[in-house]
């Protein structure tokens, strides 16, 4: 298949998504996992944008989806950062409620 301009960015997006998922699984600190989530989001948007590329310019529908996605991603990242700092500052109010130890995800 002919590798067109859009494919370069789309494949980059796919690789970013893969990198992000791997980093999410491997890294334990929440801030690192937040960075991983942002990289996956950027990868998905880049894929959407890349596949919407045409000689006339980028597909407006895809652009609108990406802008909506970016705003949601930034809102969640900022919330995540606030939660991590709050957890480090005050710890958990009540002890771990469960009897069994922390098992897999």
């Amino acid at each position: 298949m002919l590798v067109e301009g859009g494919h370069v960015f789309a494949v980059t997006g796919a690789v970013l998504a893969g990198l992000g998922f791997y980093s999410f699984l491997v890294k334990r600190h929440p801030i690192r996992q937040l960075l991983a989530a942002n990289v996956v989001g950027a990868g998905v948007f880049l894929m959407l944008g890349g596949l919407g590329r045409s000689p006339g310019g980028a597909d407006p529908f895809a652009q609108a989806l990406v802008i909506t996605g970016i705003v949601i991603a930034v809102a969640l990242s900022a919330l995540g950062a606030a939660m991590v700092v709050r957890l480090a500052a005050c710890g958990d109010k009540d002890e771990a409620p469960l009897g069994e130890k922390r098992e897999g995800p």
């Binding site: 989001g41 998905v44 989806l65 409620p97 469960l98 995800p105």
Partner: protein, 481 residues
């Protein structure tokens, strides 16, 4: 002015009002509950093919809102649940009940955001709109569980975030491949090429994280158990259901032709494993709310055990699956509310501390018991009717393993749910203290009785759930008015 729009616009309006009124925002629920209940009932009585595009922009650009059977049933269940949980929260989050005021003020906007997101998710057929609705619901879910344990909320947040991104990846692939994100259009044009299968797999993975199916359930028990009672009731009843409804729409409508028996069988197997694992873990729990949280993991397993049954014979098992979901919604909300009240009166958090509670707070313990009856699937409850329909479908298809899981699950549920009830009724000299506001026990009782009442209206429920179901009438809904 159709309920399809108002069911989302009204809670958003109440969210703004709750944010504006701040401290006094909690009294809004007295207006919101009846209003939302009437909108939900109005939706139920709409003509069968009620659907319209938002803003008048036609597909594939616009967003189609459709009041099909699944939407009506889940919106009604969610409205009932949220309304009664809201009344209980009025008591739980009042200033005199203690707890930081930021927490009390944060609950109500998030409560209405979740309600709007759930309704938006149940009513739309647009996959990207479902992504935004999913984000609304999980954001509110994270906010509500953060009112309890921040550690569990952070873990829930990170897993929910990854689940949403996996789902969004699938939506991006589908849009790139078909040029549309609408389920009704996809149902007509979908074919089994690499991109579609990959998209379906990735979306299903993301949604399984959202609906906490075993083995991706790790985040649910700590978050639901530590949250305050109304929050964990909403989390277990509504948040978990939206992911499941989207999976239903994907597997049985958009990609019904692609749903290979192996894949659906895998979901069924995971469901069976969830039933067994959830029940065993529930038996091992010392704390009441942890037991109820693991019961959610088990009950979600039932919903996915129903997947292969519906794939094989849709007309038989469809209403069983939807009835089970709604019955679980009502019963689990009742149980969490009752558990919250019981733990307030009991000296500790463990099941052993519930000694003699039945004498001190008979109404709440009865509500807990009624909810347990529905979860166990004993007649005449809604849970029984759902299990009966599923069992009937499983036996018709000769799927004896699933039939065994359904029966075994009910038995195990009886074991782990009977323990707290037995402790509550035993013992004369309980050290429990009477509840300050007996009125608060009305909400769980009402919810539990609704769960039981569902058992009597099984047939009517089946007809309602079958409206506009994908297998029922081909694609009559496709022609958009």
């Amino acid at each position: 002015m159709s309920p399809l729009d108002l069911l989302v616009a009204t809670p958003l309006g109440f969210m703004l009002a709750a944010l504006a009124f701040g401290g006094q925002g909690r009294w809004l629920i007295l207006v919101a509950s009846p209003l939302m209940m009437s909108l939900a009932v109005w939706l139920v009585f709409l003509p069968p093919d009620a659907a319209h595009v938002v803003g008048g922009w036609d597909l594939p650009l616009g967003i189609l809102l459709r009041g099909d059977g699944v939407a009506r049933v889940f919106v009604l269940g969610a409205a009932l649940c949220a309304a009664l949980v809201g009344l209980q929260a009025l008591y739980e989050f009042s200033p005199q009940s203690g707890g930081p005021s930021a927490r009390n003020r944060g609950f109500w906007p998030l409560f209405y955001l979740m309600w709007a997101g759930a309704n938006a998710g149940f009513l739309t057929t647009d996959l990207f709109n479902l992504y935004v609705a999913l984000e609304m619901v999980s954001l509110a879910g994270v906010g509500l569980s953060a009112l309890g344990s921040l550690q569990a909320a952070l873990r829930y947040f990170l897993f929910a975030l990854m689940g949403s991104l996996a789902y969004l990846l699938g939506v991006a692939l589908l849009f790139a491949n078909y040029g549309t994100v609408d389920i009704t259009l996809l149902a007509r044009t979908a074919e089994a090429d690499a991109a579609t299968l990959m998209a379906l797999a990735v979306m299903t993975g993301g949604l399984l994280v959202k609906s906490a199916l075993f083995p991706l359930h790790g985040w649910l028990p700590p978050a639901h158990a530590a949250a305050p009672a109304p929050a964990s009731a909403l989390l277990s009843a509504i948040v978990v259901k939206l992911g499941f409804v989207i999976l239903m729409r994907l597997w049985f409508e958009a990609f019904a032709t692609l749903a290979a028996p192996i894949a659906v069988g895998l979901l069924g197997a995971l469901g069976a494993a969830a039933v067994i694992y959830g029940s065993i873990q529930a038996m091992r729990q010392r704390q009441l709310k942890a037991l109820v949280a693991y019961s959610t993991v088990a009950q979600v397993g039932y919903l996915f055990v129903a997947f292969p049954l519906v794939a094989a014979a849709p007309s038989a098992a469809w209403s069983g699956m939807t009835l089970h979901a709604v019955a679980h919604m009502l019963a689990k909300a009742a149980m969490f509310l009752a558990a919250g009240l019981m733990l307030k009166a009991a000296p500790g958090r463990d099941i052993a501390d519930l000694v003699g509670l039945a004498r001190v707070m008979p109404v709440t313990v009865t509500a807990f018991a009624l909810a347990a009856i529905s979860l166990m699937g004993l007649p005449p409850s809604g849970g029984f009717a759902a299990k009966f329909m599923l069992l009937d479908a499983a036996l018709d298809q000769g799927a004896y393993i699933y039939a065994a899981v359904l029966l075994g699950g009910g038995l195990m549920a009886a074991v782990y749910l009977f323990r707290p009830i037995a402790v509550a009724f035993s013992g004369a000299h309980g050290r429990a203290v009477a509840l300050k506001a007996p009125l608060a026990a009305v909400a769980p009782l009402a919810l539990a009785m609704c769960a039981i009442a569902l058992g009597f209206f099984g047939v009517a429920f089946a007809e309602l759930a079958a409206i506009g179901a994908p297998w029922a009438q081909g694609d009559a809904i496709g022609g958009v008015p």
